[in-house]
């Protein structure tokens, strides 16, 4: 316990020295906001309770959302925040995992030079873990997003793919369908060709109106007449998703892909700028792991640079995670947005690793 407190104090000190202003967040957060951001799945991971006047509340599952809200309500640009406190997570499958644990975090809100801010956060967290046997993984959801936006296909398909960026299985099945795999069912064909698709279904019941059904039938017909995404484009997406190499090799690989998929060029430039900024801060980018699919399987809101630090192989405890979440600031900003990046460390895991390494 004392070791965790010491670790927390050390990390907060480090983050303050880097220019961060301490900030807090209520333990009880309105459930509605979190549900709207994370979807229903968050109920399986966060404790829900209720207040007679405020309705459903959640024990905070993380700090990012309340801190973004606080910043969007009147923060300056640039702003740096640090915080320490407990987060609460239900553990349905493994009773050995903690249901409450300390997090110490650092967040940067800054319009200028996102690559610099990315490097600042990563380097600071890396410095905080210096001397420990850790392994870092990184990724960049901005590159994948740019690749999807650049596909030669309909906006509806791009929107559907982007919506499922964080659900890899769903993403792949959509991509396969848009590439022309699988036949349309006979029933669906009949429906789209029917003069009156509403034979024998009676009056519309419920909130979703008949007009909404008709609108979707229009979109389904448009989709049916959209040519498939080309084999070449699909191979490029597969290549992006399959990348798993050092950042230096990944950069040259990405430059190659960008020749055929120019839409990702500026995202790749940003990746290159980030690597430069990281190198300037002393990070060994030649050895830094990059994975094209990193950051896609968590219940998160990251949409650019993503990273994690681990105490060994893939199953080892996570010591720290972080990433860029520009879109989240727009969602919570009520019309305003600001580029933002941050990371959290779990002091209990760090203290345990320090103890084990001794």
């Amino acid at each position: 316990m004392a070791a965790i407190q010491d670790e927390t104090a050390r990390l907060i000190g480090l983050f303050k020295n880097a220019g961060a202003e301490p900030i807090g967040a209520d333990i009880l957060q309105p459930a509605e906001t979190l549900l709207d951001i994370y979807g229903e799945d968050i109920r399986a991971r966060a404790y829900v309770t209720s207040d007679p006047l405020r309705g459903e509340m959640m024990l905070r599952p993380d700090f990012t959302v309340p801190i973004v809200q606080a910043h969007m309500a009147g923060g300056v640009d640039p702003a740096r925040y640090c915080y320490a406190g407990k987060v609460f997570r239900k553990q349905e499958l493994d009773a050995a995992r903690p249901i409450e644990f300390e997090q110490v975090g650092y967040e940067v809100f800054a319009s200028a030079s996102p690559a610099e801010a990315d490097a600042e956060v990563f380097a600071l967290i890396s410095e905080a873990l210096a001397g420990l046997p850790v392994r870092a993984s990184t990724g960049d959801l901005g590159i994948l997003t740019a690749a999807v936006r650049g596909l030669q296909t309909s906006e509806a398909r791009k929107a559907a793919l982007l919506r499922h960026l964080w659900r890899p299985k769903r993403f792949l099945s959509l991509l396969a369908r848009f590439c022309g795999e699988g036949e349309m069912s006979a029933e669906r064909k009949r429906l789209l060709e029917a003069e009156d698709p509403f034979v024998n279904v009676g009056e519309a019941v419920g909130v979703r109106s008949r007009k909404e059904v008709i609108d979707r039938l229009v979109r389904l017909r448009e989709e049916a007449s959209t040519p498939p995404i080309s084999h070449g484009e699909r191979e490029m997406i597969d290549a992006l998703l399959g990348l798993k190499q050092t950042s230096k090799d990944a950069l040259s690989h990405l430059r190659d892909i960008a020749v055929d998929l120019p839409a990702i060029a500026s995202a790749v430039d940003r990746f290159a700028q980030r690597l430069e900024a990281l190198a300037e801060r002393g990070v060994d980018v030649d050895a830094l792991q990059f994975e094209g699919s990193y950051g896609r399987t968590t219940l998160e809101y990251y949409d650019g640079f993503v990273f994690g630090f681990y105490a060994g192989d893939a199953d080892a405890p996570v010591l720290a995670t972080g990433g860029r979440y520009d879109a989240l600031t727009a969602v919570l900003g009520k019309g305003r947005a600001i580029p933002a990046v941050g990371g959290v460390i779990r002091p209990a895991e760090v203290a345990a690793l320090r103890e084990a390494a001794r």
């Binding site: 549900l35 709207d36 979807g39 229903e40 799945d41 109920r43 399986a44 349905e92 499958l93 493994d94 559907a160 919506r163 499922h164 659900r167 299985k169 769903r170 099945s173 369908r177 069912s185 029933e187 669906r188 429906l191 698709p197 509403f198 279904v201 009676g202 009056e203 519309a204 019941v205 419920g206 909130v207 979703r208 008949r210 909404e212 059904v213 609108d215 979707r216 039938l217 389904l220």
Partner: protein, 229 residues
Amino acid sequence: MIKLGVPSKGRLMDKTFDWFGKHGLTLEKSGADREYAGRVEGIDGVELVLLSAGEIPRELAAGRIHLGVTGSDLVREKIAGWQSQVQELALLGFGGADLILAVPQGWVDVETLDDLDAAAAAFRKVHGFRMRIATKYHRLVRDYLREHGVADYQLVDSQGATEGTVKNETAEVVADITSTGETLRANGLRILDAPVVHASQATLFQSLTADVSDTERQTLRDIKSRLSI
């Protein structure tokens, strides 16, 4: 003493009694008809505990009964990480019912889970809230929809008359147990063309958390050999 929990009334109780009877174990309600006490004949060291089917999962998980008969849907819904707390010993072949998703018949554009997901995205844009699915099976439905990559929905609790929620505009979709589908049709609903969320049937479970003495372990072995499991 091995405690065997079985449903305390109705067809589920009668059929459970029949099933054990066929295997040479006679279960009987003792005393007056309204009294929830019973006994097991044909074997020593087994006590009959009559409980509501809905409470049997909890009692198994807590280790207060060693064996229990209840719906497989209830065990999956009520016990987090059920496989680590109870073990399925035998499917009893009755009490079958499917947990399914149903949408209004007028949703001609929604046949599959793919469609449901796309309709949910459009619905949220139009109405400003996530499409509501009425159910009492929150865990099962949430796990199923996550597995199939459906997003932009919310579960609303419905403990009864779930099929009516669409007409009453408190939900857009229902996830409910159906044995025939007639109630769904009567309420203007249609079953989605998708794998069932769960095909439930009455099942004999063994608690993995209950304490077992050497004598009790031998009794359990005897029961299992009688039941050929």
